[in-house]
């Protein structure tokens, strides 16, 4: 009896131990609600973003993710639990409405999901779904059609799947909270991960539900920055001695005015940095508009927008002797002005690089 108690407790504490801080685990999140589970994966950053139950909106933000937390931007919601064999998994278990219980009968995993008090369970799958089916192939109980009504259906053992159920009474649909669990090889897992789309990027980004609508995300800023310097560096190192014109893609103005939008600062700062790096170049800033409205007004607008940018650079310490500006109005469209898309492209700021003293 003493042996039973001691041994039992040792096992208990091993099984229930949380993961260490630096331990490598896959952390996923299961959220129970009447009457289903939502499974959230952390995405490439391996971090689950913040949640707040007051942000929940059915069909729009089912888990109440806080979109201002960048860790949420790559999280995705999967319709099955996919896990690689042999890797430690930590499931963060939560509930939206009443108690539920995250129950994986084949894995001996069971833990209540409590609204307001996240719980967890750590486990390591050891047999893939495929291997388990293979084991069942010779088992007498697993022969026969999986769907007796359908003569074409798979054999029972072929149709086997691990399952997730609810094991805490949660209302009239308690008995129906099923999800399929697939244990696969590391490669299959990675291939599956590739196919998943971040919920934020695919459903929320720049819609009316996006609190960051119209703003750059940190990831955008990085991408833009990279692109800008690539182009700039290329221009500088090219053997071409002609003056090169580059676009300032991410500089925008308020409609009909020469006031910079907030978002424009990133590209402008990139330009400042570039000019600090390449001390010997000077540039000419060119403003363009589409052909909507009076062309005299357009001319003026293009000039004042170009000089707004010029002044910004001077404010940031670029010597005015290296800078000039010019407006072209609607005279030099890149594309047709007949479509909205074309017009968007035609309104732009560019700059011309004078590599005066290339050695």
């Amino acid at each position: 009896m003493t042996f039973l108690v001691v041994k039992g407790l040792v096992v208990w504490n091993e099984v229930m131990a949380d993961v260490g801080i630096d331990e490598e685990v896959i952390e996923i999140e299961a959220t129970g609600y009447q009457f289903a589970w939502d499974i959230r994966y952390p995405g490439p950053d391996n971090r689950l973003g913040e949640k707040d139950y007051t942000l929940i909106q059915l069909g729009i933000n089912p888990l109440g993710q806080n979109w201002e937390d960048p860790q949420n931007h790559d999280d995705f919601i999967a319709d099955q639990i996919y896990l690689p064999v042999g890797r430690k998994v930590r499931v963060r278990i939560t509930a939206k409405d009443v108690l539920h219980n995250f129950y994986l009968p084949h894995f001996r995993v069971k833990m209540d999901a409590v609204p307001g008090l996240p719980s967890y369970f750590v486990f390591t799958p050891t047999v893939t779904t495929e291997d388990f089916r293979a084991r069942l192939r010779d088992n007498a109980n697993w022969q026969g059609l999986s769907d007796p009504e359908d003569p074409e259906s798979l054999q029972k053992w072929e149709a086997f799947d691990y399952e997730l159920a609810c094991a805490e009474l949660c209302g009239k649909g308690h008995y129906s909270m099923r999800k399929i669990v697939k244990i696969v090889s590391e490669d299959e897992y990675n291939a599956w991960l590739e196919q998943q789309n971040s919920y934020y990027m695919s459903q929320i980004r720049n819609t009316d539900n996006d609190p960051l609508k119209g703003q750059f995300l940190e990831s955008d800023i990085k991408v833009n920055e990279k692109k800008f310097f690539e182009e700039f560096d290329n221009a500088m190192s090219s053997a071409d001695t002609d003056d090169i014109v580059l676009p300032l893609r991410n500089i925008n103005f308020e409609t009909g005015s020469a006031n910079l939008t907030n978002n424009s600062q990133y590209e402008l700062n990139n330009l400042v940095t570039a000019l600090t790096k390449y001390k010997d170049v000077s540039i000419e800033l060119n403003g363009h508009t589409d052909n909507v409205g009076d062309s005299g007004v357009n001319q003026q607008l293009s000039e004042s927008r170009a000089s707004t940018v010029l002044n910004y650079l001077i404010d940031r310490g670029v010597s005015s002797s290296r800078l000039s500006s010019r407006g072209y109005g609607d005279r030099m469209p890149l594309e047709t002005n007949d479509t909205e898309e074309g017009r968007m492209k035609n309104k732009r700021i560019e700059f011309k690089i004078f590599k005066k003293q290339t050695i």
């Binding site: 208990w12 108690l99 009239k172």
Partner: protein, 612 residues
């Protein structure tokens, strides 16, 4: 064959008994003035005992009938239930001529079944009946310390029953969130129909019920402490009384905690507090409540809930100890060890509650303590089992119906105690929790065992209650069908549970892992129907025997030592005409010094050794 000791009962009691001046008070015949005050608002503990018993039986039939309906759903999910539509009305949904039980109502039935059986039948019906009947009679008291409170105790129970019964018929249905009523489900009408008016009535009903238990309990404790007749020291009390006494103490200490939980739940439901609610989004709406903890309720509930299971089983243990000893014609083995075990179980039952919460999200570290305490309970339990078996060993056993049920109790308690040891090991409980294994465990160890204790008690003390015997043949049929049937019902559930099938599932169809047991479920359902039918037989036997049973001709048909068998065949108010018996020995002098038995009121004989 041992002979009966020569003594003259009349001399010993009527002349040498204790004169408490009972008849000096001439305030009329307060117990028997008319039909109403005699049979309805009675203050006589014997009548109140019968009231508890018969009310409990009615509830048992209702609760068991519910289980048959939901067992039909589990055993024969495909079959039409149209036949029961006249009774269940809109809860049977008929489509293409096939009637299906609505899932809401399935859960309502499961919930009501649990609540009714645990509280109304096995608490009130068992402890209420026998504490009332036996405490005064076996202690040599005229009645309870406060007959009036005792009467109130029954009527509060009665009102609780009325309220619960009413809740069965309201349009949103009775409460459907499980007998443990965990919030938030039980707190939010948005989350389940049954959590609306049904839950309100459930809470009101159980609060009335607790009042009843407390009024009864205070009375039992006071009576045991103050109204024992001359010579009846604590260590001479029969084990029945010890069991009722400790049961009452447990009830007094634990039920108020339950009520405090209920009050908090009521506040959460009605007053917008957040004791148990936090960060909830339900029915398309985020609730303002933050900071509460649903787990707090579980602590409060199980702080009662675990003692409650011992409140149910201790009286049964007491009855069984008595019946075993009388019908084995042997002293109970290890009387003191039995008393200490009762006390130890009573104490330990307060520090094991979280074994119901291993998987509830509490810190797993805490479970270590509860595992240890829980498994320590197995020790006093095992002591008791050992002593019962040893009492039987070498006994001159009369295998009559009460004895059969008492032995059946021991069998059930062993089977169910063993599975308890599995569950008490938290590592195993990960897989077993909330599966049919738990259902099997507690039905065997508590449900069936307590019923067996109750049946043993009813068959044994029926002559004391009604002056007639119950029919032995029907009794034996009742026993054999019930014990075989009960194992047939609950044994397979262990397998289903070990395979991982969760409890409280309306249907197993949607899961490949759970839908493989159709045959076993059918078998269980058929067994349940048979056992139910046999209980009806018992009820018939019971009522038939009240009026037509074999008449009791002598005062002490079983040859028992305890005082209840010294009263008249149909004792009047005050239990004893004239003086009270005085007590000179313990309750277990069977087969002593060549005498078959020596009643408690017989003084020590010349040269007698070991007078306890």
């Amino acid at each position: 064959m041992a002979e009966v000791l020569e003594y003259n009962e009349d001399v010993l009691i009527k002349e040498q008994g204790y004169d408490d001046h009972f008849h000096d008070h001439h305030h009329g015949d307060k117990f028997r003035s008319g039909f109403i005050s005699h049979y309805i608002f009675s203050m006589d503990h014997k009548i109140i005992a019968k009231q508890f018993l018969i009310t409990g039986m009615i509830w048992a039939i209702i609760g068991a009938a519910m289980s048959i309906v939901f067992r039909m759903q589990l055993g024969f999910p495909e079959d039409s239930m149209t036949w029961i539509k006249p009774l269940l009305g809109k809860w049977i949904v008929v489509e293409n001529g096939i009637g299906t039980l609505a899932p809401e109502f399935y859960y309502a039935l499961v919930t009501m079944h649990g609540t009714i059986l645990v509280f109304f039948v096995l608490t009130a019906g068992l402890s209420g009946t026998f504490s009332n009947l036996l405490i005064p009679l076996q202690l040599g008291a005229r009645d309870m310390a406060s007959p009036f409170m005792n009467m109130l105790s029954y009527w509060f129970f009665f009102m609780a029953g009325i309220v619960m019964f009413y809740s069965l018929f309201i349009s949103t249905g009775p409460f459907a969130g499980g007998w443990t009523a965990y919030p938030p489900l039980s707190a939010l009408p948005q989350a389940s129909q049954g959590s609306g008016a049904g839950m309100t009535l459930w809470l009101v009903s159980l609060t009335l019920f607790v009042v009843s238990v407390l009024l009864g309990g205070i009375n039992y404790i006071t009576t045991v402490l103050n109204l024992r007749t001359k010579g009846m020291s604590l260590w001479r009390m029969p084990l029945t009384i010890w069991a009722f006494f400790v049961t009452a103490i447990l009830g007094l200490l634990s039920f108020p905690v339950l009520v405090s939980g209920f009050l908090m739940l009521m506040c959460d439901r009605g007053l917008g507090t957040s004791f148990f609610l936090s960060e909830i989004f339900v029915n398309g709406e985020a609730l303002p409540n933050v900071g509460g903890s649903p787990i707090l309720y579980q602590h409060l509930f199980w702080f009662l809930g675990h003692p409650e299971v011992y409140i149910i089983i201790l009286p049964a243990m007491g009855l069984v100890s008595e019946v075993l000893s009388v019908h084995a014609r042997k002293p109970i083995f290890g009387y003191k060890a039995m008393v200490y075990s009762i006390l130890a179980i009573g104490f330990l039952s307060f520090i094991v509650w979280a074994h119901h919460m291993f998987m509830s999200g509490v810190n797993p570290m805490i479970s270590n303590f509860f595992v240890v305490f829980t498994l320590i309970i197995a020790v006093p339990s095992a002591v008791k089992v050992f002593n019962w078996i040893t009492t039987l060993y070498g006994g001159n056993i009369r295998l009559n119906t009460p004895m059969l049920f008492a032995i059946g109790f021991v069998s059930m308690f062993i089977s169910g105690g063993l599975t308890g040891i599995f569950l008490g090991n938290s590592a195993i409980d990960i897989q077993m929790h909330d599966t049919y294994f738990v259902v099997a465990h507690f039905h065997i160890v508590m449900g069936v065992a307590a019923f067996f204790g109750m049946f043993a008690g009813i068959y044994h003390w029926f002559p004391k209650m009604y002056g007639r015997f119950m029919n032995e043949t029907l009794g034996k049929i009742h026993f054999w069908f019930t014990i075989v049937g009960a194992y047939a019902i609950f044994w397979p559930m262990h397998y289903i549970g070990m395979a991982g099938v969760p409890r409280r599932y309306y249907s197993f169809d949607s899961f490949d892992a759970f839908n493989d047991f159709a045959l076993m479920n059918k078998f269980i359902t058929i067994a349940a129907i048979i056992v139910f039918a046999v209980q009806i037989l018992f009820v018939i036997n019971f009522f038939y025997s009240i009026w037509y049973g074999k008449k009791m001709k002598t005062k002490n048909p079983w040859g028992a030592t305890t005082l209840e068998w010294t009263t008249d065949i149909k004792p009047g108010h005050g239990n004893w005409e004239g003086n009270l018996p005085t007590v000179h020995r313990w309750a277990y002098d069977y087969g002593k010094d060549g005498h078959d038995f020596i009643p408690q009121y017989v003084p020590a004989q010349e040269g007698e050794k070991d007078v306890h």
